[in-house]
């Protein structure tokens, strides 16, 4: 960097005229090079590092997945897509996929509803706003490992807080670690605990961008708070909602820490009958317990494709919604513009002065509506 800096600073003493001219072109050339090529130096560190730690592993995972590959003895025979075929026929793989999606649904759906509700509560003219915003974010600073330890103790079948409280109201103890659905509920509750407040703040930001006079005029028209929520708030925050769903999906399909630490006693990870073994947990077991890197790599690629698929579906849905929205808007605008007497921008610029003035005079009310709309 400093070397390229040097010649540009005007230190070279100009002795004679031709010399000075040569120096100038050299300097020009340098600054031309600087403008044209130095941008690559700024983006290069990112791309080089990303290629090494992000892209290369992804490609190499695919290579590993095409081989018999043991953790200790290394690469063995080329098996083509054999590892993928094995996974598709393995009950444990489907079990892990079922568990992942079940936990994902149990955590994302209630979480989204709760986060929206909290955001609505926060989106008022509160006293001590920052304080309340911070208070819903407390769970976020508890690390996932700590959350998993705390909750796995709270849901413990003997002496756990939850069964203790249930006993107080006369409910029989629930086998939170042994049964499939209860264990999924417990793991989902860890995710919900940590992320609901965080997502509420994201949705709150979107809600605050909604113009307040929209609510006021709706109120004047007699819309109650529930109606205002469903006809104004919800449509306005839809793009943010999709963003939240997308990030929750990408994170949720890779859940590992919570199920891994929910029952430390089980060696395989995911419970004695793998009743809460998620796909990443299954991947981990395949790689580091069963030491089969080839199949583990195949699992990683299948999961990667599933995540990409979910992402694409999300993207397409959101784009369809967005284009539907803009179609409605443009239709409305067209209708406005087509009403007789309203000057469209093109006619205003194209038509001669007299005609232009004539149109403007005939219907001033319409011109007014158009300008307010564009504003």
């Amino acid at each position: 960097m400093t070397r390229t800096l040097g010649p540009e600073t005007p230190t070279s003493p100009p002795a004679s005229r031709p010399d000075r001219g040569a120096g100038l072109t050299f300097k020009n050339k340098l600054s031309h090079l600087d403008v044209k090529y130095s941008p690559y130096l700024y983006v290069a560190p990112f791309f080089v590092l990303f290629a090494i730690v992000g892209l290369f592993p992804l490609v190499y995972t695919f290579v590993v997945s095409l081989n018999d590959w043991n953790l200790l003895s290394g690469p063995g025979q080329w098996v083509g897509f054999g590892n993928f075929v094995k996974e598709f026929h393995d009950e444990l793989f489907w079990n892990s996929l079922f568990n992942t999606i079940s936990i994902f649904l149990l955590s994302s759906v209630p979480q989204l509803i709760a986060a929206t509700f909290i955001a609505v509560v926060l989106d008022q003219n509160l006293r001590a706003r920052t304080f309340w915003r911070m208070s819903v974010l407390i769970p976020y600073v508890v690390t996932p490992v700590a959350v998993a330890l705390i909750f796995s103790n709270m849901f413990s079948p003997d002496g756990g807080l939850v069964n203790h409280l249930l006993a107080l109201i006369g409910v029989d103890p629930i086998a939170w670690k042994l049964d499939t659905l209860p264990s999924h509920l417990a793991i989902a509750s860890m995710v919900n605990f940590r992320w609901t407040g965080y997502n509420a703040l994201i949705l709150l930001a979107a809600m605050q961008a909604v113009p307040r006079d929209l609510y006021e005029s709706a109120e004047l028209d007699g819309a109650g708070s529930v109606r205002r929520f469903f006809s104004i708030t919800l449509p306005s925050i839809r793009p943010t909602m999709i963003f939240v769903i997308l990030t929750a999906t990408i994170g949720g399909l890779q859940i590992f820490t919570e199920p891994r630490l929910y029952d430390a006693a089980s060696v395989t990870g995911g419970g004695a009958h793998r009743q809460f073994q998620t796909t990443v947990l299954y991947l981990w077991e395949m790689a580091f317990q069963r030491q089969n890197f080839g199949r583990a790599a195949a699992i990683a690629w299948i999961l990667f494709l599933i995540i990409v698929m979910f992402g694409l579906v999300n993207f397409l849905i959101s784009r369809r919604i967005a284009s539907a929205d803009s179609r409605v808007v443009s239709k409305r605008a067209k209708r406005k513009l087509q009403t007789p007497g309203t000057p469209t921008p093109s006619t205003v610029t194209a038509s001669p002065d007299t005609a232009d003035a004539g149109i403007a005079e005939t219907d001033p009310a319409h011109t007014h509506t158009v300008t307010t709309d564009t504003r």
Partner: protein, 286 residues
């Protein structure tokens, strides 16, 4: 607290001036207690002998055994070494991510170069790639280099993030006027001094937010550190080992959980406002 009150009062004349009623504050207090309760509960149990769990009523107040339990945590796991490892890992990753993201973000936001658009599309596309799925080749590499069990092996996979580049670009596009860049060029500044004297000062707020989130991400990471360096653990990995070492002794495990939460709790008290504005700013961009 008084300042926020004053600000809220000043806003009163502009719409939505009605103050919410008791119900709203009741809900908020319930949410706060619900969010804080698991932490409080682990402090209560973590400061008592494990026998409190077999009482008829769940305990509500802390016992006097916190330091005794903490001492047992120190006996069971290399707590201080793990804390030091976590600080090193998180700091290096934060520094690296913020530096490279600011450099690349500046170039994407304010410099014109061939195929910059295509490269930016690439960055956005890679944001969705879950890098953790590359753990198998990364592990093979680290073992071949003999780096397993070192802090460096934990750091390497997260030296850069596509999100960081995207975040800095979005911020710098709006915040630096193009005229300022052109003016600097006319004055004879080369690209690097423009970056250093114009972009970096302007980018500081975004850099702080990115640093905060990157630090949190690195601090809470579990899967990769657990795989590559269980013998020289970060704090999260050490904490998980505490559970498998004595999974019956609840009070010691929970004392450890409280201890491991303290650093982020302190960070939250110091920088909670920035955290909130970061979350809310990211939402509007996203």
């Amino acid at each position: 607290m008084t300042t926020t009150d004053a600000r809220a009062r000043k806003r009163k004349p502009m719409g939505m001036s009605r103050r919410p009623g008791f119900l709203t504050y009741g809900i908020l207090i319930a949410l706060m207690l619900g969010g804080a309760y698991p932490l409080w509960w682990s402090f209560v149990v973590g400061s008592s002998p494990t026998s409190v769990l077999s009482q008829d009523w769940p305990p509500l107040l802390p016992g006097g055994q916190f330091w005794k339990n903490v001492a047992e945590v120190f006996d069971t796991i290399p707590f201080w070494q793990a804390l030091l490892n976590s600080i090193i890992v998180s700091s290096v990753i934060t520094f690296s991510v913020v530096t490279f993201s600011t450099l690349a973000g500046f170039a994407f936001a304010k410099l014109r170069f061939r195929s910059s658009n295509a490269l930016m599309v690439f960055v956005v596309a890679t944001m969705a790639i879950p890098t953790q799925l590359g753990i198998i080749p990364l592990f093979i590499l680290m073992r071949q280099f003999g780096w397993t069990g070192t802090v460096g092996a934990i750091i390497i996979p997260t030296l850069v993030t596509a999100f960081g580049v995207f975040f800095m670009r979005q911020y710098l596009v709006d915040v630096i006027p193009d005229e300022l860049i052109d003016a600097a060029r006319v004055d004879g500044a080369n690209t690097f001094s423009t970056f250093w004297h114009v972009a970096v000062p302007a980018a500081r707020p975004a850099m702080a937010i990115l640093a905060l989130f990157t630090f949190m991400m690195a601090w809470t990471d579990f899967l990769w550190p657990m795989i590559v360096s269980p013998q020289n653990p970060t704090l999260q990995v050490a904490l998980s080992q505490l559970q498998s070492a004595r999974y019956v002794d609840f009070s010691v495990v929970l004392a450890g959980a409280v201890l491991a939460t303290l650093p982020l709790l302190i960070l939250f008290v110091v920088a909670g406002k920035q955290l909130i504005s970061g979350i809310m700013a990211g939402a509007v961009k996203g």
